[in-house]
Point group: C2
Chain length 427, copies 2
């Protein structure tokens, strides 16, 4: 194969014709494939089934502190769950609040509370003329949906191989007191799978924000979601770094077992300074009497400790790895020689991020859909779903079976080729 860029117009036309024929053949198959969301596949979920047996009617449903977990109470999590979630995040139990089943819900509630009640005694955001958030882009669509929902202005910050462009972050955060936060997925980022460098983390911790209520929203969703044994990314501990830099209250860390056990029936947690957590507890006590403590206990009984979690994640990696390898192999074989797209090769997380030639992403996604392959919407990785260059597509390999995935990927690369040829022909 030759780079499309080296082809003549005639050759491109020929190629297009051949591609469209293949495309019609695929369409005729009436496939229904989904590479859109970062959902575990059934084989991953099967790995957690023994968790359904660890608590039975024969067990005493009490915490190590003796509390009857069947009754009301325990606002911020049972001690053993704080320990387990703290170990996953890399912080002490006293820096952890264990919540219900969804870290997204914690993030939403954190923004909602800041809107109505402010942060650390500062003016509630709903009383301010303007509230802004920095959004490293491409990023996680559900983060952007929360800030958009609350009318918070989103400012794009480009991602680099080391994390967000920290020169831009620093300049904006330190000069504009209407900037109240930044969304980060610091490890195996969504969608690129980038892990922030030590320098990036240190620069975050050393920020001197113009706003006293600026907070880093550190969504460590993929903290332990490695793909390859011996090729794990490591990241500095942001809570420690913030403390060292004299900014102990500047970060909120979020985490869950949604992609460890059962999404929707997992355990979510937040980590921060004790001062921040005390403020949050004073609001939580109005909102609820407590989260599902029996499910917290179920997780602790199943994993026992962080070693149990890590063993489990190795089994998950064994299921997911072949899927990533399949996607990357197809991209390498089918697209790389043509010089029409670039993509990431992450060591963990749930996504591969692909950039098409300018102006092709929407076309690719819509052609995929027409052929029965659902991709994440083009633009979804950008604030306001607005990818000006129309290049970024998020590939989520985990949910389909490997067989389905290969089929879906072949259709996807075909669509990338068609859109690229058409783009080149139109230039």
């Amino acid at each position: 194969m030759t780079s499309y860029r080296a082809l003549s117009k005639e050759e491109l036309e020929q190629e297009k014709e051949s591609l469209l024929k293949q495309y019609e053949d695929y369409k005729a198959l009436g496939l229904k494939l989904d590479m859109s969301r970062g959902k575990p596949g059934a084989a991953q979920l099967d790995l957690s089934m023994p968790m359904m047996d660890v608590l039975t009617s024969k067990d005493i449903l009490s915490s190590e502190s003796g509390t009857d977990l069947r009754n009301y109470g325990v606002l911020d999590g049972i001690p053993e769950a704080k320990k387990l979630m703290g170990d996953i995040i890399g912080v002490k139990p006293e820096n952890v609040i264990v919540y219900g089943n969804s870290s997204l819900n914690i993030m939403y509630d954190t923004i909602a509370r800041s809107m109505t009640h402010g942060v650390a005694g500062n003016t509630p955001w709903c009383k301010l003329d303007k509230v802004k958030f920095l959004c490293p882009t491409p990023g996680y669509d559900r983060h952007f949906a929360i800030t958009e929902h609350f009318g918070i202005e989103m400012i794009k910050v480009p991602m680099t191989q080391d994390g967000p462009d920290m020169d831009m972050v620093q300049k904006l955060v330190e000069s504009d007191d209407s900037i109240k936060g930044i969304w980060c997925v610091p490890k195996y980022s969504n969608p690129q799978g980038i892990t922030y460098s030590d320098d990036t983390v240190k620069r975050f911790a050393a920020l001197k924000p113009a706003a006293a209520d600026f907070r880093i929203f550190w969504d460590n969703a993929y903290a332990i979601h490695h793909l390859f044994n011996g090729k794990n990314d490591e990241i500095l501990n942001i809570l420690d770094e913030c403390e060292k830099a004299g900014n102990p209250d500047m970060v909120y860390i979020f985490c869950s077992t949604s992609k460890v056990t059962f999404p929707g029936s997992g355990v979510a947690a937040m980590a921060s300074s004790v001062k921040n957590l005390d403020e949050i507890r004073s609001q939580m006590t109005i909102q609820t009497i407590g989260h599902d403590k029996i499910n917290q206990l179920r997780h602790v009984k199943y994993f026992k400790d962080i070693n149990g979690v890590m063993e489990h994640m190795k089994k998950q990696a064994d299921v997911i790895r072949p899927k990533f390898e399949a996607v990357l192999q197809i991209l390498d074989e089918e697209i790389a020689p043509l010089d029409i797209a670039t993509w990431t090769k992450p060591n963990g997380g749930y996504f591969v991020s692909l950039d098409t030639m300018k102006g092709c992403a929407k076309k690719v996604v819509s052609m995929c859909k027409e052929a029965g392959v659902v991709m994440t919407g083009a633009g979804a990785t950008h604030p306001y779903k607005n990818d000006e260059d129309d290049t970024n597509i998020r590939i989520a390999p985990t949910y389909p079976s490997t067989e389905e995935l290969i089929k879906a990927c072949k259709i996807f690369v075909l669509c990338v080729k068609i859109a690229s040829v058409e783009k080149l022909l139109s230039e």
Copy 2:
């Protein structure tokens, strides 16, 4: 025994001396008893233990619609849980959203959403100068805590034997467009155990609120919590009545299994018009991907249907009834003849509400505490914890064992007597 009101000053002094001696004897026992919160006792929780066995690793964790409940998705509840919760509330599944573990959390979120985003296209409450709520009093302290937390002005409405004073409710709601809601516990109310009469429900449904975004917050926490077989209170269906009266969107109904299965590990739900629920879903989809569907399935598998729930509640009543009977017997024997307090005799729910002579409630609760008996704080049943007459005390008989309860009750009535004697002596 003679009414204290018939005693001479000398006789009262004698009585006081004798009572204080008994009080010192109790204090010397160093007891630790709790009649403060509406928490199930251990024997009630034991009744739900078989629920821990209905879903195991051998079961297929799918809904009747075929959805794999181990994965992400299903924002508003699995179909069979909607049916079950709908049957408990008395509405159709399409009028139900099933949430996580806490109806209090749903109520909080409902107020929070109204603050930041408004109701049905009206101005968000946080943008208004003044937002008010009506608070039938005595009422539930956690309701009042939510409205106070959001800076919503609370207006007391006296309770009658038929529910809130509807003349006052109607006059206020129909004349003041800053009144956006009213807190109701319509069945076996907290703390009085009063069930709203048909006339009260119909008058609620027929309100013509000045505010387009006025909503009735109908916390049906004790919908199925009867104490006596054959003496169940019945209540009209508020959703039906609102629809009949041309106010289909005026009510939000809340409910949970917290006092059916395990508090903290139950299932909570909201019922309302489809129009209201659509509005709520459009916000929920930003807040979460979904609640714990496996726990929803666990509840459905355990109860099978509403009949299973009602059978279970009969067993619960068998555990709770003797406790209520013990409390009422002690009050009848020890307090009734003295003419120093009045109290309610509910057919269901979790509380007995007692009114002391004016200015005595705080004294009684603090004396109880000193003798090792924790009661709900005096004033807790009033907005801003402000019981101007200082008379109302909420008695929660369910949590202690019957033996402990009897001990606690004897100390409680002793304190009521002492406070009353002192009050009479001071007049």
